[in-house]
Symmetry: C3
Subunit: 129 residues, 3 copies
């Protein structure tokens, strides 16, 4: 798991947006984007929870075709989802003090990931309606 908030907040700063929304998407079927309180316990708990719900040891139809052993990776990624859209407020993503946007790698071998961050800014200085 990788915390993304400091990187995405610097992109918001570069964009000059004060108020709006930000979409963060990962390209690919075996990684996912979400938010969590980013501390060591939950960084273990979240993959553990996914393993419990979608056991790697189970047999999946995906493997009958591909024999690559990552059927569970695909299902976990679909469950968590490939993107998050959150509000931007006062020039940063509107999250809780300890809450972070994260990328979770769910594949069974290391992968290089492409993230796309889109900031959409209101034109006025007003708060979000």
């Amino acid at each position: 798991m990788h915390g993304l908030t400091s990187r995405t907040d610097s992109i918001i700063v570069q964009s000059g947006a004060r108020t709006g929304v930000e979409n963060v998407s990962v390209v690919g079927s075996t990684a996912a984007i979400g938010t969590v309180e980013f501390e060591p316990g939950l960084k273990r708990d979240l993959p553990d929870m996914l393993d419990r719900l979608i056991p790697p040891s189970q047999s999946y139809g995906h493997e009958q075709a591909w024999h690559d052993g990552n059927g569970h990776s695909h299902l976990k990624a679909t469950l968590i989802g490939p993107s998050v859209t959150l509000s931007v407020s006062e020039g940063e993503m509107a999250v809780g003090t300890w809450q972070q946007l994260f990328l979770i790698e769910l594949d069974i071998k290391p992968r290089v990931r492409e993230l796309i961050v889109t900031v959409q800014s209101e034109k006025t200085d007003r708060d979000p309606i």
Copy 2:
């Protein structure tokens, strides 16, 4: 669980948007946003389902650091997600007759929650492409 659609629809009306998208986000790591048919049965079924998938009784790494007993709250919130983006059509959120946007409180003690609603409107009167 709190139904949000009447409140978010009044925000759309105030914004004057006829067609576009609306993002609803909750700030914090132990609440989540989703949609559901908002009737008494499902309002019990959804928390029950989350308790079954992520039992409060289980031991989580989060609690070894914080001892606050809400590790399950964090994991449930990540699973459902902190925001939903839906289409706005004819001046209201495009949902089914009984479908509602909801906020689910997943923490173990009462919390005051900040919701941020962003309406993005098309400039023309055309339907969504």
Copy 3:
């Protein structure tokens, strides 16, 4: 399950957008939108996984009121979610080679579904920030 990417990509082409975001939403409480590697194995694995997590055979509060036997359909739809927002890059949705946007029908009888696709385009030719 229905693959949507070819249809949504043709909508992006019609819109003329090169860079931006696309939101795809389904109207209704018993269908969901997500992304997955769209191949025969996973097209069986995903519904199987949902049946395992939220068994149709179990008794749900929803059915005590409605007796329509689709309590599990509602819960599955809430878990996967009613919409996905992804980046548009170089005139198409930024997904992996085999990754597709899908609609999954979760109800217990055939339904006609309304999908709403909204493309939001940057005004410039720059890449997403």
